[in-house]
Structures are given as C-alpha cells and as structure tokens.
C-alpha cells in the first residue's frame, strides 16, 4: 500500500472514532448539569418541564406582539418561523415582507397550535439528550456511583397467588425467584454491571450505574408485567357510555375505580380504562370498557414473544406463541367469541383491543404498543412473570463505592504512570520514542472511542484492562524497536532495518496478542459484571494497540525515511 492510501485509512479511522467519542465528550464537558438531570428525569417531569417552558415562551410572544409587533422572533424561538412558513404555504397565503412576530403568529390559527410547536421543540431537545446519554461511556458504581433503588415485595400479592398465607419458605423462594428474574431482565435491558442484592427479608436493593433515571427502573420492572386477555362486553360498554354521558361528574372522578351505582354491572364484569400513550409516553386514559372479569387467557401461557413490525402500517407487532394448553384455551375462547373484541390487559390497563375474526390457536399477533413498549413487553413476557409484586420504595442517587478521594488520587496516579512510560520511551528510544508516544496516545483515543460506541460502563476492573493494554502496546513498540536496532547494528540501511524489523516483529506481536485476545473474547462472552468489563476493555485495547503499533508507527517510520529522508536512525543512544 502506498503511504497516501495508508494515511487516508488512518484519517478515516480517526474521524470515525471521533464521531464515536463525540457524544461522550459532549455529555461530560458541554452539556450543563441541569440539562443532564432533566434528560434523566421521568416522563412526567419532562412533560411538566416542556409545558411550563412552552407556556412561558408563548406568554413572551403574546406580550411582544402587543408591545412591539414589528420585532423579530427571539433567537431561541426561531424554529417557529419554519412552521409558520409551512402554514402560509398550506393556506396559500402570500409570504409577508418580513418575518416579524406579528406575521409569524398570523401563520397559526390558534394559540394551541403555537403552544404545540414550542412544546414539541422542547420535548425533542430533551429526547435527543436522552438518546445521547445512551451512547456515552458510563462510569461504574465504584467510580461515580449511580442510582439506588429499594424494592419491597408485596407479600399480600404472594398470598393471593398462592391461595394461602405464605410461609417463610414460600417467601424465601419467591424472593429468590424475583431476584433471578430481575437479574435476567436487567441483563437483557443492557444495563451494564448492575448490583442486585437482598435487603432484610422482604426487600431488594438494586444499584445501577449512571444517572438516576426512573424510566430505566420502570422499564425492567415493567409494572407487574401481568398480561391477560379478556373479552370485551359490548352491550355493557355501550350502557356504561350512555351512563357516563348523562353523568359527566362520574367521568371526571379520576383513577381506575369508576364509581358506579350498585348493581349497574352484571356479576362477572369489570370496568377497565383503555389507555394510549401521549407523545411523552405517559399513559392517558381514552375511555372505559367493560370486560369479563375473569381472564380469558393468562399471559403465563405465552411461550415465546418476538417483536416485529407490521409490513403495511410499519407499527410494532408482538408475535407470540402459546404453549399447548394455552393454545387449547385460546382456541376455545376465540371460537366462542367470534366478532367480539379481545382486550389485551397489561397490569389492569387495557392496552389494545382486537376484533376476533376467526378462531386462533397458538400463534398470535398483538398490536397497539409503541416500539419501546413492545420491546420491553416482549422481554418481560420471555423472562416470565414476577412471583410477587414489587413496589419501588425509594429511588435515590448514590455516590461512588470507592472513596471519591481514592478515585481522584488513583486517576492522578494512573496519569502519572502513563506520563512516566511516555517519558521513558522518549529517553530510551529518542526519535523512535516519538513514534511510540504518538502510537500510545492514539491507542488511548481509539480505545475510549470504541468503548463509548459500545456504551460500556467503566469500572475499576476496566481500568485494569487499560493498564494491561498500555503495557501490551508499549511491549509491541519495544519488540519492533529492539528488532530494528538489531538489524541496524548488523549494518543494514535504515530502510532495510525498519522493513526487516517490522517484518520479523509482526508475527511475534500477532501471536502474543492473539493469544490474549482469545482469552479476552472468551471472558467477555461468558464472564459477568467486573470480569466482563475487564475483558471488553482488553479485547478492544488489543485491536487498537496492534493497529497503532503495526500500522501507525510504521507509517511514521516510512514518512521519516521516504519524505524527510533522514540520514541517521534515531532509535538508541548507541545506534551501531
């Protein structure tokens, strides 16, 4: 390969890693603390914030249009000009001479429209921050703390499920099972290195690295994760709607327990809310439906669940298959209720309804969830239901488990160690040392970039991986330089020495790195927690250090020889 091609490859690699690294860099250095907190807030908080900000902005606009209608739109709200332009176009109105407050506002029909535009803008900003957060190199519980969640098991729900007062052994086995399921789920939701342990007898503590984001806890608790199928009673639903129309006050009373006159519903029927998600992902009750109280089919019969998307509408679809018994029940249920509506009820909320057009046996498609919800639900269905209901008792940010001083001092020590290595290389290898140093720094840069792209959580053990990688990267350089020196001392030309040095060192470096790489890959696949973190760092580090030692350092030598045409090889105090 010519130098130019190699240089281009290097540039491409640097740019790509730069793009991996950018979110992490921005998150830790450019984004303000308030914004970060907001991004890890609950959906409710995000909604409150966006609506508050939007109404503030709207008031500013309204005030200005009275006092100074000719003024330009404030810089931070310039996005509404675009929407206004679009509205002008749609209404086939001629564009105004100037886009001032008055003319922009005339582009909207109602105040609500302006409010919606501003609100979605705020929402978008926060959502993109949230997304950012998912592509950032996280620091682990030991280095920067995270979130501590205490869950309490609701033993009443266990009693209900067992049908008798749970004994100590029942409680213990339910707790063990719940811990196991939690472990499983958290793993599948891609939270790195969480810690789950028993607290007291009826509580579980979960610690998750990273910002205290309640949404993440909710996602793996996923309510109780109880999914059932019920048949909707159309007649009673119509009756209920008529009643609600004549008694509007009943509809206002919030909560799922709609107050109805006694005897309004026949025995065996129950009222449940039908919920859709608003743009914040918060469940909003649309209306009430009356369903048969007894579940037509229990979600426990679901064998496997996969998320796909509808080929026509593109909506997320959950495909699941039922076990044999469930298939029989479902077949009977659907045969008996053709042309009725089947309600999909998750934790007592109706999430979707579907008309039964024909009897179904064991393979079912379910729609009515957004993409994330569908994915979460599929995981919950696959990981089985909790044996006991878990309630979130408290949820709080916690500091690092290693002392903060010890981390700060430790990081300083590691930096010092790195500088010492660099200094040594420069002193010992002189000119060639510069190559090694550049290779080292590039190696660190590439490593952090790739690890950010993996969204890895950095803990003390990953730092161990860094230390080993730095050692191995230095080693690769040392092997090459010692070889070049040997060749050079034999009286070869600079060019021939470098060439032979690299050629002979190549397989040595490959063999020693591949052996370690095999171990690293193996540990990263089978290891858990700290072992995995270490293995990932090491595996990535081996690849990047080989790249920098064999590719980048070589390019620098070639550049010195062919372009700068150096006469003497600066690699040792006693070159020959």
């Amino acid at each position: 390969m010519s130098k130019r091609v190699r240089f281009l490859i290097l540039i491409v690699v640097l740019v790509v890693s730069g793009s991996f690294l950018y979110p992490t860099f921005r998150w830790y250095f450019l984004i303000g603390r308030d914004d970060k907190e907001l991004a890890s807030g609950s959906k409710q908080q995000i909604r409150d914030y966006s609506q508050k900000k939007a109404s503030e902005d709207l008031n500013i606009l309204k005030g200005k249009v009275k006092s100074d209608p000719e003024a330009l739109i404030p810089e931070n709200m310039s996005f509404i000009v675009d929407t206004a332009k679009r509205n002008y176009k749609l209404a086939e109105k001629p564009f105004p001479v100037q886009w001032n407050i008055k003319s922009v506002l005339e582009g909207f029909r109602t105040e609500k429209e302006i409010f919606d535009v501003i609100e979605s803008q705020y929402l978008q900003e926060i959502l993109s921050l949230k997304e950012y957060h998912d592509n950032v190199l996280q620091l682990g519980l030991d280095l920067s703390g995270g979130m501590n969640v205490v869950l309490e098991a609701d033993m009443k729900s266990l009693a209900q499920r067992l049908g008798h007062e749970p004994t100590e052994a029942d409680k213990k086995s339910a707790m063990d099972r719940a811990m196991e399921i939690l472990n499983n789920r958290i793993d599948k939701f891609g939270v790195t290195e969480p810690q789950i342990r028993r607290q007291g007898t009826e509580e579980i503590t979960i610690e998750i690295p990273g910002a205290a984001d309640p949404e993440r806890v909710r996602s793996f608790l996923m309510g109780k994760g109880r999914l059932n199928f019920h048949i909707v009673n159309d007649e009673a639903t119509t009756k209920l709607q008529e009643y609600m129309a004549s008694n509007p006050s009943a509809a206002i009373s919030s909560g799922d327990d709609l107050e109805l006159p006694p005897g309004f519903l026949d025995a065996g029927l129950a009222v449940r809310g039908f919920y859709k998600k608003d743009k914040y992902g918060i469940d909003q009750r649309i209306r009430y439906l009356v369903i048969t109280e007894e579940a037509g089919l229990d979600g426990n019969h679901i064998k496997d669940a996969q998320v796909g998307s509808d080929p026509i509408t593109g909506q997320p679809v959950i495909n699941f298959s039922l076990d044999r018994e469930g298939g029989e029940i479902f077949f009977k249920l659907t045969s008996a209720n053709v042309n009725k509506t089947l309600a999909i009820v998750l934790d007592d909320k109706i999430k979707a309804g579907a008309r039964i057009s024909e009897p179904i046996r064991d393979s079912v498609r379910m729609t009515g969830f957004d993409k994330k919800e569908a994915g979460d639900l599929a995981i919950v269905l696959r990981t089985a239901a909790m044996p006991v209901d878990l309630k979130v008792m408290s949820q709080q940010a916690i500091g690092a488990t290693l002392g903060e001083d010890s981390i700060r001092i430790g990081l300083r020590a590691i930096t010092l160690g790195f500088l010492l290595v660099i200094g040594f290389m420069l002193i010992y290898y002189l000119g060639a040392g510069i190559n090694a140093v550049v290779a080292q720094i590039l190696n660190l840069y590439l490593m952090i970039a790739v690890l950010s792209a993996f969204n890895l959580t950095l803990t003390l053990t990953s730092i161990a991986g860094f230390v080993l990688t730095i050692g191995m990267a230095v080693d690769a350089n040392v092997i090459i330089f010692e070889r070049i020196k040997e060749e050079y001392r034999l009286g070869k030309s600079i060019e021939a020495s470098v060439k032979a040095g690299f050629r002979k060192a190549f397989w040595t470096i490959m063999d020693s790195n591949i052996t370690t790489f095999i171990a690293a890959i193996f540990l990263s696949q089978l290891g858990t927690g700290p072992i995995q973190g270490f293995a990932y760092t090491l595996a990535v580090g081996i690849v990047t250090s080989m790249f920098t030692a064999l590719f980048v350092s070589r390019l620098m030598f070639d550049f010195n020889i062919e372009v700068r045409k150096i006469k003497k090889l600066s690699i040792s105090w006693r070159p020959r």
């Binding site: 509580e203 488990t401 001083d405 010092l416 053990t461 161990a464 050692g471 040595t508 193996f522 072992i531």
Partner: protein, 452 residues
C-alpha cells in the same frame, strides 16, 4: 556480538524453588486462616445516616403527653390526656414556608417552648425528623434540617471516613444530593459477633455522634444486606480463567508445538499461584480489583512468554544444528532487552499507581507489581525449561518407540510436527557460545524474485 547467558543451567533449582514456594505458600495461607474477603463479597449492614444541624428544639411543659411527628409534608403535634381533651396541631410546610413563621405559630400552643438555632428564613421543607413520632417533655427535643449548599457542608465524606476508621474496612457512599450529607455506611459482617446487626449499628452511631455532635446525627435506616457480589464470582473467575487457558493452550499448540503450549500455560499458572499465595499470606483484601489483577497478570504473563517462544521458534529454524538448550539460551538473551524494558515500563506505570494511589486502587497496583515481577521471571526461568523438558520427554518416548532407527535429518524435515532438535551438536560450554547470525532462508516466491 553478545555473550549468551546460560539461563537454562539453573532450571532444576529454580523450578524446585517455585514448587516449594507455591506449596509452602498455600499451606501457610490456609494455616493462617485463608483469604480476607473484601466487603463486596460479604453480607453486612447498610446504614443510612445523615449529619444535619439543629433547626430548633422543642420543650413541653403542659399536662398529658405531647407527641410530635415530622414528615415530608409538615409537622404535627398531638396532645392527649389533658383535661381539655385531645388537641391536634398540624403545620403544613407549604403554608409555613419559613422557619420563623413556623416557630411563632408553635409558640402559640400552650406548654410548648421552641428555641431556634437556625436562620429565621430557613425553608421548612428542609426539616428532617426521623424515628418519629416522639414524645415531647421537659428535655429539649431537637429537629434537624438538611444542608443544601456544598459550601456549608460540615461533614464531607472524607471526615466520616476518618471518624469511622477504627471499624476497619467500611464502605461509604453519599446518597441523594451531596450537600444533604446523607450517607450509606456499609460494614461487613465477619460472622464472629452473633448480635452484629445491633452492636455494629450502635457503634457506628456512637462514633458519628462523637465526631459530629450528639444531636446532629440521624440514623434513618439500618438493614442487613447480602453481599454485593456473590462468592460465586471468585469461583466463576477460576473456571473461566481455566477455560481461557485451555483455549490459549489450543492456539499456541496450533501456532507452535505442544511443548511450547504447555510451557506457556505452566508459566501462567505458576504466576497466578504465586500471586494467590502473596495475596493470601499478606492478607490483601480480595475484591473485584483482585480478580481484575489476576486476569491482568494472566494476560501479561502469556504475552511475555509468547514473545520469548516466538524467538525460540524462529531460531530453531535458523540454527538447525544447534542444541535446543543453546537455542533457548540464545533466544532468551536476544529478547532479554525487550523483556526487561517492557517489564520496567509497565512496572513504572504500576509503581506510580501503588505509591500515589489509596485503598483498593493501591491494593490492585500491589497485586500487579507482584504479578509483573513473577510474570517476567517465569517467562525466562519457567516457561522455556518446561518447554525443553516436555520436548525431551517426547523425544525420549519417540526414540523408545523406534529404537533401532537412527534419526536422520531428512526424516525430521519431512515430519514437521516433530521437534527439529534431534541433530545434536555437542556444545559443552554454552556460556561462551557466540550468537551465530543466520539470515532466514528465502523460500518460494521471494527466492524466485531474488534470483531475477
């Protein structure tokens, strides 16, 4: 031309030494009570404590009993058992936003005296009170408030650590907002004390009260919790490391020869064993960092050994007529500068961490220092001798298999998987061997190219 150092000569002595050190070491470890498992692997208690200054104190001198309850929303006082009947006073923080307004309202209750110790304008939402309801009496009962600014903090985490330092290994984390001075204290249960739960929490509370004042420490919650990592993690590490070594064995077998592969694995196991002996004898706390250190050394040691082996392999091809022992000595000598420089640079980095680091980071560095020194030693004095021994053993076995046939070069050439060292050049005095230089013979395409 360098003089070749005879590394191989001392092999029996050093291998025996290593075996003795490892065997005696493990015996000593188990005789002295095994390993000190770190806090992450032990069950223990979790205490939530808060260091909070006093907002005001209350006294009650009226009849009956007055009970006070402070929660997030407000302050409630219930007076019962008086002649005038039961009385309830509720002060919502929403309504009485500043401490002075709450205070003046409290003073209107007959029998209650309140003494402020905090600024008048303090936000009442910051009041904290726990383990309530409590009964008021003639002894002043204090109500505390949480600090909210980092600049006002009087009990930063480092101070807490200092005051609890007599308890041995503890873990301290802040909870919630740093400035609130709320902390989670974790103390491991060594299993000696039966009433550990009660005794330890009392001890922690007393120590904190001694440092921060009797009335300034609130214990919010005490729980007995399981270990952060199950002990399985250490077992898992062993199994996984074992399997990883097996994979490495297969790769090196494939790339080199069986004798090399075995040499590399034995050297690595040797290093891990010596590290474990070190950790056990010096009672270095076993934490996740220890696991990381062991894994790191596995990587380092394998890497170090393979580099030397690579040189041996290269030299056996070049110096076909030289005895394997000599080839090994030459190869180790040739790669010695690299071995030493790499060990030195890595040690330099790790030493910096050891000297300047604290806590488990320091322990981690200490483990690594031992591992690097041993790893370097083993790649010179353990790996190659084992490889040599295995080669000789296999040689002898093969020779015994067909005793009659003398080994001919041609045969060996044909059968590449067999060792090539059979052609013996007697070299009685390897110490004075001069490293012969031989250019690698060009084969195939490259030879043709050269001819042109």
């Amino acid at each position: 031309m360098k003089r070749v150092i005879n590394f191989i000569k001392v092999r029996f002595f050093l291998i025996t030494l290593s075996i003795v050190v490892i065997a005696a070491g493990f015996a000593a470890v188990f005789l002295t009570g095994g390993y000190t498992l770190g806090i992450d692997f032990q069950a223990g208690i979790n205490m939530r404590v808060q260091v909070a200054p006093i907002a005001f104190s209350l006294q009650y001198s009226g009849g009956g009993t007055a009970a006070i309850n402070v929660d997030k929303t407000g302050l409630n006082i219930n007076i019962t058992g008086t002649e005038e009947g039961d009385k309830k006073f509720a002060f919502l923080f929403d309504k009485y936003a500043s401490l002075s307004s709450l205070n003046s309202e409290l003073m209107t209750i007959p029998g209650i005296t309140a003494a402020l110790s905090a600024p008048d304008q303090l936000d009442t939402a910051r009041l904290v009170g726990f383990n309530h309801p409590k009964n008021l009496g003639s002894d002043p009962l204090v109500i505390n408030y949480a600090l909210s600014k980092e600049s006002e903090m009087n009990a930063p985490i480092a101070k807490l650590r200092e005051s609890l330092s007599t308890l041995g290994i503890i873990q301290l984390q802040y909870v919630g907002n740093k400035a609130n001075q709320e902390y989670m204290v974790r103390v491991q249960d060594s299993g000696v004390d039966k009433d550990f739960n009660v005794n330890m929490s009392r001890q922690v509370e007393e120590l904190l009260k001694k440092s921060f004042g009797e009335n300034n420490v609130i214990v919010k919650q005490t729980d007995y919790v399981g270990p952060r990592f199950s002990r399985n993690l250490t077992q898992e590490t062993f199994y996984l490391t074992g399997f990883a070594l097996l994979l490495i064995l297969i790769y090196t077998w494939f790339r080199f020869k069986f004798a090399y592969a075995l040499g590399a694995i034995v050297a690595t196991l040797h290093d891990v064993c010596i590290m474990l002996v070190f950790i056990g004898i010096f009672k270095v706390e076993v934490s996740t960092a220890t696991i990381a250190a062991v894994l790191t050394i596995v990587g380092y040691s394998i890497n170090d050994t393979i580099v030397v082996f690579d040189r041996i392999r290269e030299n056996t091809a070049l110096l076909r007529d030289t005895q394997l022992e000599t080839v090994i000595n030459i190869s180790i000598t040739q790669s010695l500068s690299r071995t030493i420089i790499t060990a030195l640079t890595t040690l330099l980095a790790v030493l910096a961490i050891f000297i300047f680091g604290t806590g488990s980071i320091k322990d981690f560095a200490l483990n690594l220092i031992v591992g690097i020194v041993v790893g370097t030693y083993s790649s010179i004095y353990i790996a190659s001798p084992v490889m040599l021994g295995v080669t000789y053993l296999r040689e002898r076995k093969r020779k015994m298999g067909d005793e009659q046939k003398p080994i001919k070069r041609a045969e060996i050439e044909e059968n590449k998987s067999e060792p090539k060292v059979a052609a013996v050049t007697v070299n009685r005095n390897p110490e004075y061997t001069i490293i012969p230089f031989a250019e690698r013979k060009l084969t195939g395409k490259r030879r043709k190219k050269r001819k042109k």
